[in-house]
C-alpha cells in the first residue's frame, strides 16, 4: 500500500539526527516535524528569520509578529533566536543548515529540481527555494511519484524550468525511498506492498535496483 502524505513525512523523519538544524518547506515537509524520533532534539530553521521554531500556538498566544516562512502563526522554543532575512540566508548559504526538506514538481536522475514555475501559468516566484537548493548540505525531496496527469515526476531530465542543478540527494514518494547518485535514482526502500516493478513503471529516469529492496516498516 502506498504511503499517504503522513507516511512520507514519517519516513523522512527517520533521516533526522540529534542536534540537526533543519529547514522544512511548505506542504508535506512541514509534517515531518510531527514525527521527530523520541530522544533527539532538532532545531527548525524558518528562513524568514528564526531558529528553534515550535508548534502552532494555542489561540490565546497567537502573535502576528511571529510567523514562519509559510506565513503561519507559530511559536519559538526555549533556546531559539530571531534574526533577519539576510542572516537567515547567510546561514543557509554557508551550509550551516544540515538538512533541507522540500517539495518538487520534478526531479531528474542527476539531482536537478524544478519546483517554482509552470510555463503558461501565473508564476508566484521562487521564494527562498533557489537559495536553499543551491546551498543546502543535504536535500531531501518529499513528493508524489507522479503528477495529477499520471506522468512520472522522476525524470531523466526536468521539463519544467529548473530551481537548481545537481542538488537533490534523496527523494521520498508515496511509493519509494530513492537516493540520487552517479546520475541515477537508486531504489533503497519500497512502501509496504509496493513492488519494484510498480516503482520502475512509474519512474521515467534511470532507476538502479541494488539487489533486495526492503519494505519500509513503521
Amino acid at each position: 500500500m502506498a504511503l499517504d502524505k503522513f507516511g512520507i513525512a514519517r519516513r523522512i523523519a527517520r533521516e533526522l539526527k540529534d542536534g540537526m538544524y533543519v529547514n522544512l518547506g511548505i506542504g508535506i515537509p512541514t509534517l515531518v516535524a510531527n514525527y521527530i524520533p523520541a530522544g533527539i532534539s532538532i532545531f527548525l530553521q524558518s528562513e524568514n528569520g528564526m531558529l528553534g521554531m515550535g508548534p502552532y500556538p494555542p489561540e490565546e498566544e497567537i502573535d502576528p509578529d511571529l510567523i514562519n516562512a509559510g506565513k503561519e502563526t507559530v511559536t519559538i522554543l526555549p533556546g531559539g533566536a530571531f534574526f533577519d532575512s539576510a542572516e537567515s540566508f547567510g546561514m543557509i548559504r554557508a551550509g550551516k543548515v544540515d538538512l533541507t526538506v522540500l517539495g518538487a514538481m520534478e526531479v531528474s536522475e542527476n539531482g536537478d529540481i524544478a519546483n517554482w514555475k509552470i510555463p503558461g501559468k501565473m508564476v508566484k516566484g521562487m521564494g527562498g527555494a533557489m537559495d536553499l537548493v543551491a546551498s543546502a548540505r543535504n536535500i531531501i525531496v518529499a513528493m508524489m511519484h507522479s503528477n495529477p496527469k499520471g506522468e512520472s515526476k522522476l525524470l531523466d531530465k526536468c521539463s519544467l524550468p529548473l530551481t537548481g542543478v545537481g542538488c537533490v540527494k534523496k527523494v521520498v514518494t508515496e511509493l519509494a525511498v530513492m537516493d540520487i547518485e552517479d546520475g541515477q535514482f537508486i531504489l533503497r526502500e519500497r512502501a509496504p506492498g509496493v513492488t519494484v516493478e510498480d516503482i520502475r513503471s512509474k519512474t521515467s529516469g534511470r532507476l538502479l535496483v541494488p539487489g533486495e529492496v526492503p519494505e519500509i516498516v513503521f
Binding site: F83, D84, S85, A86, G127, G128, P161, L162, V165
Partner: protein, 233 residues
C-alpha cells in the same frame, strides 16, 4: 538635528512619481502600515517597490496595487492577490522575481557598500541568464549586484529620536537590511522613546542609517494564515 516627524505624511515628503522604494515585511508581518496608507493618500505613482511580497488584496502593498500606483515590483514571491495577477497578465505591472536570499543579500550589500558579490543561488536556472558565472572552490556562482533604493520604509517595534531601531520576533525580516540601504530611510515605530531608553547593546539598526522616524498609529497587524494548536494535539 531633528529626525522625528509627527506623522507618516510628513515623514514621507519627497517621495515622488517614479521613486524606487524598499518596504520591509515578510507577507503581512512587520509591514509599515502607516506609511503604506500615506502613500495611498499621497497618490504618487509609477513606483518601483522592492519588497519580498506584494500583500493581499485589501492589505499591505495590495492597497497600492489596487490604486495602480506601482509600476514594478522586485520580489521573491508574489500573487497572494487577484488584482496583482490581473495587472501582471494585462501588462500594467512589471515584476522582477529574485531568489529570496539573493534579494536579502543584495539589499544587505547596498547597506555595506559592497557593489557586487557572488552567490551559488540560481546557477543553471533562468535566473542566471545574462549574469556572469564564476567558479569558486569548484562550484559555479553568479555575480549579483547591490540593490539600492531612493527610499527605504521600515516598521520597527521601538525606536528613539536618534533613529535607533529595535524589532520584535520575526518582524526583522528584510527591514533591518533595507533600513541600511535607502538613500533616505524612514522608520515608523510602535513606540518612540527618548535617547538612552534603548540598550545600546541591543539596537538592531543604529540610528546612523535612519533619517526620519515617526510613531505610527493603530497597527492592525493582520494575520495572513492563522494556525493554532488544537487542545487535543
Amino acid at each position: 538635528m531633528n529626525k522625528v516627524y509627527s506623522n507618516a505624511m510628513d515623514a514621507l515628503a519627497g517621495i515622488a512619481n517614479g521613486s524606487t522604494i524598499m518596504l520591509g515585511g515578510f507577507g503581512l508581518c512587520g509591514i509599515p502600515e502607516n506609511s503604506i496608507a500615506a502613500l495611498v493618500k499621497m497618490g504618487v505613482n509609477d513606483l518601483t517597490c522592492i519588497s519580498n511580497n506584494a500583500g493581499v488584496d485589501d492589505f499591505g502593498l495590495g492597497l497600492l496595487l489596487k490604486t495602480r500606483q506601482i509600476r514594478k515590483m522586485i520580489s521573491s514571491y508574489v500573487g497572494e492577490n487577484e488584482e496583482f495577477e490581473r495587472q501582471l497578465l494585462s501588462g500594467e505591472l512589471e515584476v522582477d522575481l529574485v531568489p529570496q536570499g539573493t534579494l536579502a543579500t543584495r539589499i544587505q550589500m547596498a547597506g555595506m557598500g559592497i557593489p557586487a558579490f557572488y552567490t551559488p543561488a540560481g546557477y543553471g536556472t533562468e535566473i542566471a541568464e545574462g549574469k556572469e558565472v564564476r567558479d569558486f572552490n569548484g562550484k559555479p556562482h553568479l555575480m549579483e549586484y547591490a540593490l539600492h533604493a531612493n527610499f527605504a520604509i521600515v516598521k520597527a517595534w521601538k525606536g528613539d529620536s536618534m533613529g535607533n531601531l529595535v524589532f520584535r520576533k520575526t518582524t526583522r525580516n528584510f527591514s533591518t537590511s533595507m533600513a541600511r540601504a535607502g538613500d533616505i530611510t524612514i522608520a515608523e515605530v510602535e513606540e518612540l522613546v527618548q535617547p538612552g531608553m534603548l540598550d545600546p547593546d541591543q539596537v538592531h539598526v543604529p540610528g546612523i542609517y535612519v533619517h526620519r522616524i515617526f510613531q505610527g498609529q493603530q497597527y492592525e497587524k493582520r494575520i495572513e494564515r492563522k494556525t493554532i494548536k488544537l487542545a487535543s494535539s
